[in-house]
């Protein structure tokens, strides 16, 4: 007992931990649990929420726009995951081969990551429409333009970031392993796939995790680039927002003027959390197994 109080830092630990714990509790833990509670409620304002049970979840799962958004988001996340990581790794690989001016390239490739999503969305919508208007169309006119437009935007923004992580990974591949491979007569491809990639698996784990969860959580860029347009107007007058991703779908549901919609949006948000957390953890477990000990 005496030992604990001998060290002044130990005696005061609560003073240092306290504010952080309080901030974490106020800013994260409490809203998180309140959010889960609200997903079982009908509410307009948080303070007058009324418990209604599982109704919101049933409504959320029955909503065809939510299902559409889910599949669209999944397709987007998968495509962007592959492209961002392949291109990011390729850029990192090239820039660790001693190319002249590689520091400059690294900086330039990283820079798009510093621009906010909304701004980026508007800038790219101008770029795309500058090109598409020559053909009498717009990114808002075709689902496939909206999809690939968003993929291009995300690649442009994220490749540089992933590249930095891959560069760090590539630089830590032991020189002696590479040299041994060379002496044993391995080709460049063999060295890449048998030596380099297994050694950068930790980077691949983190990069695939980031790009997969980023893909699922994407909101700003989606809102600013297409906002869900174009819609398919169904014969009965309802519509499907063809380029609306999950986060935007939740947002749109929340601000629907139906008195029940806020609870439904909250239920969707909880489902969304479970989905993103589940996929993220599954992917981590999968890629971790492939990491090698150096």
């Amino acid at each position: 007992m005496k030992g604990i109080f001998k060290n002044p830092l130990r005696r005061w630990f609560w003073l240092f931990l306290g504010p952080v714990t309080a901030a974490f509790a106020i800013g994260f833990v409490w809203p998180f649990f309140q959010g889960i509670y609200l997903s079982f409620c009908k509410f307009k304002l948080v303070r007058n929420a009324k418990f209604i049970g599982l109704g919101n979840y049933t409504a959320a799962l029955k909503d065809p726009t939510f299902m559409h958004a889910f599949w669209y988001t999944a397709l987007f996340a998968l495509t962007s995951l592959l492209l961002i990581n392949i291109l990011g790794f390729a850029a990192a690989y090239v820039l660790t081969q001693g190319v002249k001016g590689s520091n400059l390239y690294r900086t330039v490739f990283f820079m798009p990551n510093l621009i906010g999503g909304i701004v980026l969305g508007y800038i790219w919508s101008m770029i795309f429409d500058g090109i598409l208007s020559r053909y009498g169309t717009s990114i808002l006119m075709e689902t496939k333009y909206g999809f690939w437009g968003l993929i291009i935007l995300m690649c442009w923004q994220q490749i540089g970031y992933m590249m930095i992580i891959y560069i760090a990974g590539l630089q830590s591949v032991p020189e002696d392993m590479l040299e041994a491979a060379k002496i044993d007569g391995a080709t460049r491809w063999q060295t890449l796939f048998r030596v380099t990639i297994p050694n950068v698996m930790p980077s691949i784990t983190i990069c695939t995790f980031l790009s997969l969860t980023n893909g699922f959580k994407l909101f700003d860029q989606n809102l600013a680039l297409t906002g869900g347009l174009p819609f398919i107007i169904q014969p009965d007058g309802s519509n499907i927002k063809t380029t609306e991703m999950l986060a935007l779908n939740i947002y749109n549901t929340f601000y629907n003027s139906n008195s029940a919609s806020k609870g439904v949006a909250q239920a969707k948000a909880v489902l969304f959390f479970i989905l993103v957390a589940g996929i993220g953890l599954a992917q981590l477990a999968y890629t971790r197994k492939r990491e090698v000990q150096q």
């Binding site: 005061w12 208007s133 014969p235 309802s238």
Partner: protein
């Protein structure tokens, strides 16, 4: 060294906590928090708030929601312990959504200042939940100088045939004249409401008139006047500075096109008067002529979405302070002058007369015995979603004006109404 660091960190934290806990609260006398809806009013509203505080000592806070985000801002602000005391309930959907949080304004001092009941909103129980503080009109803004320069006269613009003849003639000779008929009708968020919200009103209005007036949102539309909407919409997009194919993304400054004399017509409302009249002092406004029988007697679309409500959850002191502030805004000579200058006509007894030329045009039509086209558009169910679908359908139609694409517009317009009605009320 460690001790010094520990001490420094402790001090930082103490100050941080003190700063967080030290928020000043208003005096016992009550305060006003006005969540303003019109970005263009923000500067004047901040000035009025300051002036009021100087004169009376009552703190007034004005926050303006960014354009198009009022319901989002209101939703989050209403949940706070210091919620707005004065907010906007602009239409029937708003009454449904926020009416229960609004104080009944019947026979209150502000209600007694009103000169008309026409712009007030009541809930199902007959409670006066929000009260109009200004009204506006929209239609087609015209530059008479350009009409004459093209060899036409304003007297031709009395019905759709006349408007069509003039617009098509100007468009056909645009190269030679140096100006075109209509300014661009962009479909991006900053402009599409002029069509999906305002021009659409002509369809709703005539349906409403046939039904003998609406008192609540109808569950469905008949679409009986879709052809008339198409008449005017087609005229507008096909006789304009911009190729209809380029409207989806926007980026054309319609106001500037009109101000710089590049276009003779500009679809918009009375709030544009201050901006437009500097460059085009003769600018006036004509009704949405669309080929309806008897439309020679049509007037402008008059109404408002600018209606004040007092938050019933606020303390009595805050409610009283808010009431005093509202009355001051529409009765104090200095404040009322600013309000009129910014907002046009205020439906209150003790306010100066407006200099707004478009509202004067609206009054002139009414004096000539023309019917006012009221804002039936305020009934649009689930308005954001409804309009977004309409924009999507109009985008497709603008790019390719085929029958099939027009059918989509009709579906979004008519069937979309019923679907959104169900979504909002079901």
């Amino acid at each position: 060294m460690k001790k010094i660091i520990a001490l420094a960190l402790t001090l930082v934290m103490v100050f941080a906590l003190a700063a967080a806990g030290g928020t000043a609260y208003a005096a016992e006398g009550g305060s006003v928090y006005w969540l303003n809806f019109k970005p263009e009013l923000d500067e004047a509203a901040q000035g009025l708030a300051k002036l009021y505080t100087e004169k009376t000592g009552v703190p007034v806070k004005v926050v303006t929601a960014a354009s198009g985000t009022y319901s989002q801002t209101l939703t989050s602000e209403m949940d706070k312990s210091s919620a707005p005391t004065l907010f906007i309930i602009g239409n029937q959907a708003g009454v449904k959504e926020w009416g229960e949080f609004a104080m009944d304004l019947t026979d209150t001092p502000i209600a007694n200042e009103l000169s008309t009941d026409a712009y007030n909103l009541y809930d199902e129980d007959g409670r006066l939940v929000s009260i109009g503080y200004c009204y506006e009109c929209y239609g087609i803004i015209v530059n008479p100088d350009l009409i004459e320069a093209a060899g036409h006269s304003m007297d031709e613009l009395v019905n759709f045939e006349g408007l069509k003849a003039v617009a098509e003639d100007i468009h056909a000779r645009a190269g030679e004249l140096g100006f075109d008929a209509f300014s661009s009708s962009d479909m991006d968020g900053s402009s599409s409401w002029r069509f999906t919200g305002h021009m659409a009103n002509l369809e709703y209005f005539y349906e409403e008139r046939d039904a003998g007036g609406w008192t609540e949102c109808p569950a469905e539309l008949s679409g009986a006047y879709m052809e008339n909407f198409k008449n005017l919409y087609d005229l507008c997009i096909n006789n304009s500075l911009t190729d209809p194919k380029d409207l989806a993304t926007g980026g054309h400054d319609a106001e500037n096109e009109f101000k710089t004399g590049k276009a003779a017509f500009f679809v918009n409302g009375s709030w544009e008067y201050a901006a437009v009249s500097e460059a085009v002092p003769n600018a006036t406004m004509i009704p949405y002529y669309c080929g309806v029988e008897g439309e020679e007697k049509a007037g402008l679309n008059c109404g408002t979405e600018n209606c004040w409500a007092i938050n019933d959850m606020a303390s009595d002191a805050d409610k009283a302070a808010t009431m005093d502030f509202m009355v001051w805004l529409v009765s104090d000579p200095e404040a009322a002058a600013v309000m009129v200058e910014q907002l046009g006509v205020l439906p209150y007894k003790n306010v100066p007369e407006s200099q707004n030329g478009f509202l004067a045009a609206a009054a002139a039509y009414t004096e000539d015995g023309c019917y006012v086209m009221d804002w039936a558009t305020n009934y649009q169910p689930n308005v954001d979603d409804y309009r977004a679908a309409l924009v999507s359908a109009l985008n497709a139609y603008n790019a390719d004006q085929s029958e099939a694409n027009w059918e989509q517009v009709k579906t979004a317009f008519v069937d979309g109404w019923a679907v959104q009605y169900q979504a909002a009320n079901g």
